[in-house]
Amino acid sequence: MIPRIALLGNPNTGKSTLYNRLCGLRTKTANFPGSTVEHQSGRCAVGDRGEVELIDLPGVYSLMLEIPESRLCRDCLEGRIGDRRPDAALLVLDATNLPRNLQFAASALARGLPTVVAINMIDVARGRGLALDEAAATTQLGVPVIAISARTGEGLDRLRQALAAAGTPTAPRPSPRTPYPHSQVGSPESMRWSATVFDAIARHSADPAPDDSSLHDRLDHAFTHPVAGLLTFAAVMTLLFAAIYWLAQFPMDAVDSTFGWVSVNIVDVMPAGTLRDLFVNGIVGGVAATVVFLPQIVLLFFLLALLEDSGYLARAAFAVDRVMRRAGLPGQAFMPLLSAHACALPAILSARVIPNPRDRLATILIAPFMSCSARVPVYVLLTSLLFAGEPLLAGIAFTSCYVLGALAGLVTAKVLRASLLRGPSSPMVLELPAYRWPSLRTAVGVAIERGVMFLRNAGSVILAIAIVMWWLSAYPKASPDPASVALHDRAVQLAPSDPAAAADLEADATRLDERHQQSESFAGRVGRTLEPIFAPIGLDRQLTVAVLTSFLAREVFTTTVFVLAGAGSEGDAADSGTLARVRTATRDDGTPLFTKPTAASLLVFFVLAMQCLPTLVVVARETGSWRWPLAQLLYMTLLAYGGALLVYRLFETA
């Protein structure tokens, strides 16, 4: 059994950077055995060919607070959660803020677990004139202390050696020079202990770095200002999405043409038939329709990680706090709601940071209104159909989707807090980390991790759905359409005299057959049966099936549209990209599948609808009953349908 080491520290100490640096991509999100609590754990190479399992616990200011994160840390350290206690702890302290961090260290070390202390950001602290005596720190704290910089990699080799030693059964318990204080972090006794230890291990050079606090003050003032702060936030977010939209088009084209090239090669080497059809239209085409959006996802997480690392987001939280307070939400809801723009699942779990239960429930209920990354493929597809060749308008429509989702969420929160969830909400207290140049390495790490998760999903669930959708649209095999048989006969008659005209007729006959097959297949029958429900918002039988399947996961919509609307047109898939193929798809009567009113109505539908089964499951788990998620599903679906209906009618009359 490999040693298990718990990673502990205050928020903003660079704990995640260190975790990513130590574990790289060898990390996974899992539940603690026998519980529903999620955690990140990863394998980290230590010592000479050794290995330990690192458990990334949430950053907390104290282990004794009555908040879920503190409780989680206590439960993990005491073995109440998971199958066993960790063998050791890795404590991350911020070198630029040692007095406070040492108090946390004392409370953690007092628990008696073999521990290694990593004093992070030593490079920044050194730049500010701090000199740290590692040997003295080791004596004072009674455990190995190593000064590191998780960003530059300084000290990490020695840290790995120390972790190897701490993971062995004979690792020594902490034994400090001055006994650890008994009282909590922040108590006068704890502050005195930390001041004594700090004086013994660190000293400021006579020539301290220039004081930049007045610049900090001015930036803080601007970023948290009621007007300037909000305008800055709006500008930053607009730039963020514009950059994603613009930058992603290049890799998207590359992905698209790669899959196109694969299809052409399959068509060349495989004999025509069911198997080739499955590969080209089911597997390659279906997966391509999702993977083509990978660049968007990766860029979104990359840029968000840069913003968070820069220190800006904590200020933005205060700027947005005023707006959220009007909607009856606390400032603590900002981070969950912002991360809901990536995915509602982690957002709903992170709503645990909100102490007030009514605030927390309101946040959980509106989180799915935020435009998650699974909606990005659908937005991209529909906005580019809506405004083909007009990138500016498409970009504005794209941003409007985010605004519409956020507004719908805030209005819903307001209504909830005034009715079902009445009561005061708790005020905001938040640490504002120092501004700094964001680390590219950290952001790249986050982006790769998210990209791998997305691909893993595309390779499993979405691949399976693509194959099932292909099968549902290819079977049962329909008898030939009488109209196409007639065309075929005429083509045979014409062939000797006019081969070109005969070929045209033959192609028409094939198209008619494919259309007929589509309509008579299982998917076609389901779509035709339920079409009347969705016809008022402009959907035909194919789009009806696409909307129904996207309930499993929104991004499946693009896959289904591709497989259903594009099936049988191998030549097209090879000649043109995924988007072009969808754009030229037609309905049974030959009219375009996507008209402007249909694209607009679907866009509104996807902004507002709760098209996500996993979210419902997590909401049920977090709220402890199926009452809330079912109400949420009903409310969001009705709202989405109503909104889509309104927009469809507006576009039709315009």
Partner: protein, 85 residues
């Protein structure tokens, strides 16, 4: 400070740039979960704060830590201003 003794005032009434000492039992009117969190974040009894921004949020610096506080929290923290050196 007419009687020569320093006066206790709410943190929210300090001017920008002003320094003050957080007094014993200065956080008593806050709910206990807030009191413990603030102390753990560095804003505990006897610590010295510098005001970086007034209003809402009120931003204070304690040693190297910057905390943003909602107005309603800053109103309930009692401090003694330290005369400018």
């Amino acid at each position: 400070m007419a009687d020569g003794r320093p006066t206790r005032i709410p943190l929210s009434q300090l001017a920008r740039g002003q320094r003050a000492q957080v007094e014993c039992s200065a956080l008593d009117s806050l709910p206990s979960e807030h009191r413990c969190l603030l102390a753990a974040m560095g804003l505990g009894e006897t610590c010295e704060v510098r005001v970086c921004r007034t209003g809402s949020p009120c931003i204070v610096q304690i040693d190297q830590t910057r905390l943003g506080l909602a107005r309603s929290v800053a109103d309930k923290i009692m401090v003694t201003p330290i005369a400018a050196k």
